[in-house]
Amino acid sequence: MDIELPNNIILTKLEPFFRWALSHSIYMFPFGTACCGMELIAVNAARYDLMRFGVIPRSTPRQADLMTVAGTITEKMAPLVKRLYEQMATPKYVIAIGSCAISGGPYHYDTYSVVKGVDKIIQVDVYIPGCPPRPEAIIHGFMELQEKVRKGK
């Protein structure tokens, strides 16, 4: 381009700009059913302060971009998880926090009531292992998700 621009103007395409903006203002719908949900509360509280990454908790799926499934999902809870996920507007992302949400965790064997991984019901973008994961691990998972949002996958 021949026109000379001032230094405080950056040219980009609309799509990457939109994704960049979204990655820094993720509205999170926290779905916590067990101890991982407590850990998610700790991440949102003052010491770890997830909001400095632009992740804002919303109490309704209709205003959310991201659903965090933290905790054991039972067969009885599974239809509710699916319905809440379907109420979210696209683009929507899912983080599975903890062993239970990833694979059933300690309830994988010899159980009749636990869903063996939330990815059996809904599509999961980032898995955060741990039982429960440390707050640092959860923050790392959110940063991985931001990277994924920016890349547009």
């Binding site: 067969e75 009885k76 994988h108 064997y109 010899d110 159980t111 009749y112 009531s113 063996k116």
Partner: protein, 130 residues
């Protein structure tokens, strides 16, 4: 607290004996549960006396092929959900129960998972190396 007292009774006596204990001061229905003993189910009722500060256990054995017993909801309203749970997980029918349906599992569930012979293809067996 004190010595542990267990009373083993017959199926048809349950309602009468439970009422006698209630009149004697065992007014608090702590809990009830069931045990699958292969040929029979044994039901355990735990009653407490708040005045005397002691408790007793009533045990009843019922046959597996006809698991029917009287409900204690007429004596203690708190027995309602406990009996629903035992019905849900063991399939024991409580006669005289006002609302006998599943309480923990979803309503479409088939079978009673705490029975020893419960089969479900979704259950992953734990490998031997544990």
């Amino acid at each position: 607290m004190g010595e542990e007292r267990i009373v083993e009774i017959k199926t048809e006596e349950l309602l009468k004996i439970a009422e006698e204990f209630k009149n004697k001061g065992y007014t608090y229905f702590s809990f009830m549960t069931a045990v699958d003993e292969k040929e029979k189910f044994s039901l355990c009722y735990r009653l407490s006396s708040l005045e005397n500060k002691n408790s007793i256990t009533i045990k009843v054995k019922i046959p597996r092929d006809n698991p029917v017993i009287d409900s204690l909801t007429s004596l203690w309203a708190g027995a309602n959900w406990q009996e629903r749970e035992v019905y849900d997980l063991f399939g024991i029918i409580f006669e005289g129960h006002p609302d006998l349906r599943r309480i923990l599992l979803p309503e479409y569930w088939e079978g009673h998972p705490l029975r020893k012979d419960y089969q479900d293809e979704r259950i992953t067996k734990r490998p031997d190396f544990y």
